[in-house]
């Protein structure tokens, strides 16, 4: 019992720390993706804004969806939401709790991407270089250029090699200005996210602690129940397969015996387990026939009561011998599993 408890605790803590680990890995992956990404501003008037904002906003959306996809509990949530009511009522508070906790974890990687992008400054520099206030920062009284020309010149600010507007506004001045704005936005965004997280976390015990405990218990219960059911089904499938295959080999062996009118020689008493495990198939041709039959004609998914040793294979379907002691033994078997 103690060992069971320890293993279970490990599993339980493991599940949460596993989810937190995935969350952290995604955040690191998002930083790594950003540094590996080769940002290439197009330096053309209308394309800059689209490119810059696209790089700022599209990857976070992808990361958010990925956060849901990688979370195992999403299928559990969907199942609980869509199942028919049956004999067990559905609690919307539990569903809300599950969704909120998944959404919170999925939000971390996108938030990291947006923060890193803003603090780095390249995206905002690319997107808003055409909106730099030339009057205050540069030489606006440069009469020879039309509005469109000025836009084209300003659009080349992120591309230092082809920038030809040094007389209009110095490249470094414009880049510093835009980067300062970007970093200010970045820090404000991080501050906002952190304050939001702090408020969500600290206001909960003040308001709905009892409801929270209930939702947490039942969402955890649903998760465990699903896992245990899967385990029980796996166990059942294993036993089913084992008995099915055993009956197949016995069937083969008995058929061969019937075909050859050859009584199986009783193995000598000291042959032991090995002889039993051979299941009556003891030569090459028999084995080949068994393998061929397994491939060509798999047995039906229907376990019959075990055959008598000297009879033919398919006895007993309509004859249930009632064992008065059977129910008691089965019940005892259940308790021994607990």
């Amino acid at each position: 019992m103690d060992k069971f408890r320890m293993i279970f605790q490990f599993f339980q803590s493991n599940q949460e720390s596993f989810m937190n680990g995935i969350c952290g890995i995604m955040a690191l992956a998002s930083t790594q993706m950003y540094s590996a990404f080769d940002f290439n501003c197009p330096c053309l008037p209308h394309y800059n804004l689209a490119y810059g904002l696209g790089i700022l906003l599209v990857p976070p959306f992808i990361l958010f969806l990925l956060g849901f996809v990688l979370n195992n509990n999403i299928s559990m949530l969907a199942e609980e939401w869509r199942r028919p009511q049956g004999q067990r009522g559905k609690d919307p508070a539990v569903l809300r709790y599950m969704f909120c906790s998944m959404a919170q974890r999925a939000m971390i990687a996108p938030a990291v991407w947006v923060s890193v992008t803003l603090l780095d400054g390249k995206c905002i520099t690319c997107a808003f270089c055409t909106s730099v206030p030339v009057e205050s920062l540069g030489n606006a009284s440069y009469p020879r250029l039309s509005q469109g020309e000025i836009q084209r010149v300003l659009a080349r600010i992120p591309c230092k090699e082809i920038y030809n507007g040094q007389h209009l506004i110095a490249n470094e001045v414009a880049v510093r200005y835009l980067r300062c704005i970007s970093q200010a936005l970045g820090w404000c965004f991080v501050l906002l996210m952190t304050m939001l997280a702090f408020l969500v976390r600290s206001l909960r015990p003040c308001f709905s602690q009892a409801a929270f405990l209930k939702s947490r218990y039942w969402s955890h219960y649903i998760d465990i129940e699903r896992k245990l059911f899967d385990e029980t089904c796996a166990e059942h499938a294993r036993s089913f397969a084992k008995v099915c295959i055993q009956q197949f080999f016995e069937g083969m062996s008995t058929d061969l015996v019937a075909a050859r009118c050859h009584l199986p020689r009783k193995a000598p008493a000291d042959a032991g387990e090995a002889a039993e495990k051979l299941l009556g198939i003891t030569d090459q041709s028999t084995m080949n026939m068994a393998l061929k039959s397994w491939h060509r004609c798999k047995p039906p998914l229907h376990l019959h009561p075990p055959a008598l040793p000297t009879g033919n294979g398919w006895a007993g379907e309509g004859q249930p011998p009632t064992h008065p002691s059977t129910p008691r033994r089965e019940t005892a078997a259940y308790y021994s599993c607990v």
């Binding site: 605790q9 300062c180 997280a197 129940e225 059942h236 009632t322």
Partner: protein, 301 residues
Amino acid sequence: MDRFRMIFQYFQSSSESVMNGICGLLALASVKMYTSFDFSCPCLPQYNMAYGLGIMFVPPVILFLCGLILNRQSLVMLEEWRRPQGCRKKDLAVIRYMCSSIMQRAMVAPVVWIIVTLLDGKCLICAFSGSMDPEKFVGFANVSTVQVQQLLAKVPCKDDELMRNNTSRKAVSRYLRCWSQALGWSILLILIMAAFLARWLRPCFNQATLLQARHWSNYIDIEQKIFEETCCEHSRLFAHKCILHFFESMRQEIKLHSFNLPREREGTEGEEDLLRGITDQDQVNKLLKTWYYEKPPLDVS
């Protein structure tokens, strides 16, 4: 009993060492964040001060909030503070103790950031270069007011064309950096002395109350953890019973509809038990369908 004691000690030490570990990690993260952050002073008269002071003070607030969020004990303290009194009295001394220990740990990372910023000097140079008295520096002494503001604002930017080889720029920069570093070291010294005094003088005041507060705050933390574990264990047993009941009710239903009782044989006794009377593809399909369409009620009495 021994095992229980070992687990208990592990829990007790674990909680505090986990919190200290998180505190240290945040401090390291704060240094790493500062070194990887690309500080870029705008070098414009109105923006310098906002940027410089912003970089000096906004990240510490963020780090402080992170320190509170990542500390599990802050939730425990809040729950203890807000819970209805019920049958157990609330001890304000315990709550105060927990609050002060949480705050102390949360303050480490912000203080590290501020000190690193001051010792590095870039933030202060950016923020206060425009507030310098131009008369003190030769290169800026005889320039018009408007232009001097512009020039002083450009001091933090070494590569600017106007500032590239300007010796007065270096003088202003060195002056501000000197002040910044002096401030940084002074703050560090004051904080360490305060921590030292607090730790040394604490046993002289209210030691008994402190011991009680520490004991009960630890107790509340452990009680919370054990409650959560017990709930987990309980939900597992509940689920187990529920599933067994479900399989049993399936078996009863199958028995009612067919007379095919599995007979037990010596060798496969274990397997037959695990099969729980479900020995057919149709029966398995029925079981799985019933599991989805009609989950059993949450009642294992």
